[in-house]
Amino acid sequence: MTRSAKLGHGLAGLACLLAVMEAVPRLGVVDPRFLPPASEILGALAAEVRTAALWTALGETIGGWALGLAIAFLTAVLIGVVIEVVPGLRAASHSTIEFLRPIPSVALIPLATLLFGASLGSTLLLVVYAAFWQVLIQVMYGVADVDTVADDTARSYGLSRWSRIRYVVWPTALPYIMTGLRLAAAVAFILTITAELVIGSPGLGLEIQLAQSSGAVATMYALVVLAGLIGIVVNLAVRMLERRVLAWHPSVRGEVTS
């Protein structure tokens, strides 16, 4: 499938979504006062986009998101690989990981406000905590998926532990890690906005919360739509990265050949 055909399909999918969002309130399935039709939401979005406040808010959100994601990703990959590669460490850390992982980062809000207040620090704590696990689990599954013959080959040629991580373990885990990155990117984004919503650090979440508490329904949905659009952009970016780093992988090369 060519790039442009792909784009065409994607746009068609979005158009369908728009049509549904327009039709549902118009046909009276839900009250249009509480869920305005798509056209009205897009109108409100157009109005919002023209305000400077939105762009500062967006900047704050994306800044916090990117930083949090980067920290979470790097630490998770590092820790994940170390846990998998050092014998015995996985067994030792398993119970703790399984215990800490489901603790909702939302429940850490008091701790976050205590440590950092309504600042970037709080947002980061929540974002990093939530995104970290997403990547870590993917790394752990990916590392465990190393082909035995490939690993034997590496070992018999006397590749050091580090070389094996770099040349065998890492490429095997990469597809998993890319999925982890996509998951974590979304979760980090969600948490950035949630933190802004709940703690009140400045950003898109705060704007949503303001619109909500002001009863500005169309504006609220406009901002939500904006969040969704950002999600699409982020995904495109990760996909592009994926095409570069996973060119050899069946999931990517399959699309090129057939």
Binding site: D31, R33, F34, I109, P110, T113, L114, L115, F116, G117, A118, S119, L197, V198, I199, G200, L206, E207, Q209, L210, A211, Q212, S213, S214, G215, A216, V217, T219, M220
Partner: protein, 293 residues
């Protein structure tokens, strides 16, 4: 610590954690009018999501001052948090039909008065807070059995839709949702703030015991001036809403403003505390002496 630091021109840099709702117009207006500058305070207002977040932030040292409703403050005090009220926040107008908080039902609902709320499902924004306490007061006052009311949590913005969809029998909301819901065909059956106590103090500004007393004094002065000014100039108060909320200007023109008085009504707070104790929201008899100035 007090966290305040010397800003430019020898001013104290102060951060206040304040919910971005109609109630807090005075502090925004006061800041715009320069009342805080006049007291050598360089004020930064940080929006927070709710009273609890304000209290956490103040105790955690992120804010020197914050805004919270009296039930939240009483609860926090009961748990031993070192907080202290410094100025009145917002008060009920005390007039039924012209207050900024109401319990609403659908137009065709069989519920006619607060008494009929018994046995029904009523939404409040937070359970075990000022909403259920004051609504129970309304029901009691109208001769109903307050213990028969079922409360569910529903954020103010989502309540009107739930009411129209018949998911709840009645909703409690504050402005701008009161005006909005009424314009969408809802009917008020109780004015819970007005019913709970005369001239009810709903929320106050507070600080922690660690804050420099001199700074507190100056903040109180500036805040009181702001409250007086806002109360005296409702049009300017409505105007300032446009700067920090996203309420539709058409709605802003219509909403009922609360009463912004400098008077902290100790009796009304005591009444709320007693009612909360009766309902089990509080566990001990409140000691207002250390909470209020």
């Amino acid at each position: 610590g007090s966290g305040s630091s010397e800003g430019a021109g020898g001013k104290d840099k102060v951060t206040a954690g304040v919910i971005a709702i109609v109630d807090t117009a005075p502090i925004h207006l006061g800041k715009a009018k320069g009342f805080f500058d006049k007291q050598n305070i360089e004020l930064a207002i940080t929006p927070v999501q709710g009273g609890a977040a304000g209290i956490s932030g103040a105790v955690g040292g992120q804010f020197q001052f914050a805004f919270g409703n009296v039930t939240s403050l009483l609860t926090a005090k009961e748990q031993g948090l070192p907080i202290k009220v410094v100025a009145n926040g917002v008060s009920s107008t005390g007039e039924e039909g012209k207050d900024f908080s109401a319990v609403l039902v659908k137009e065709d609902s069989p519920i006619k008065t607060a008494k009929d709320l018994a046995g029904k499902k009523v939404s409040v924004n937070q359970l075990k807070n000022i909403g259920d306490t004051t609504i129970r007061a309304s029901v009691r006052k109208a001769g109903g059995d307050p213990s028969q009311v079922t409360f569910v949590e529903l954020p103010f913005p989502d309540a009107p839709a739930a009411l129209q969809a018949g998911r709840v029998d009645a909703i409690w909301v504050v402005e701008p949702f009161v005006s909005q819901a009424i314009s969408q065909g809802a009917r008020p059956v109780a004015w819970n703030y007005a019913d709970a106590a005369p001239n009810l103090t709903v929320a106050t500004y507070f600080t922690t015991t660690k804050t420099d007393p001199d700074l507190v004094k100056r903040f109180t002065a500036a805040m009181n001036e702001s409250l007086r000014y806002a109360d005296a100039h409702p049009d300017e108060a409505r105007d300032i809403l446009k700067s920090y909320t996203k309420i539709d200007p058409a709605v802003i023109a219509k909403i009922v403003l609360p009463k912004w008085t400098t008077d902290i009504n100790r009796e009304s707070i005591q009444a709320i505390a007693d009612a909360a104790l009766g309902d089990g929201v509080l566990k001990q008899k409140a000691d207002l002496g250390t909470l209020l100035p």
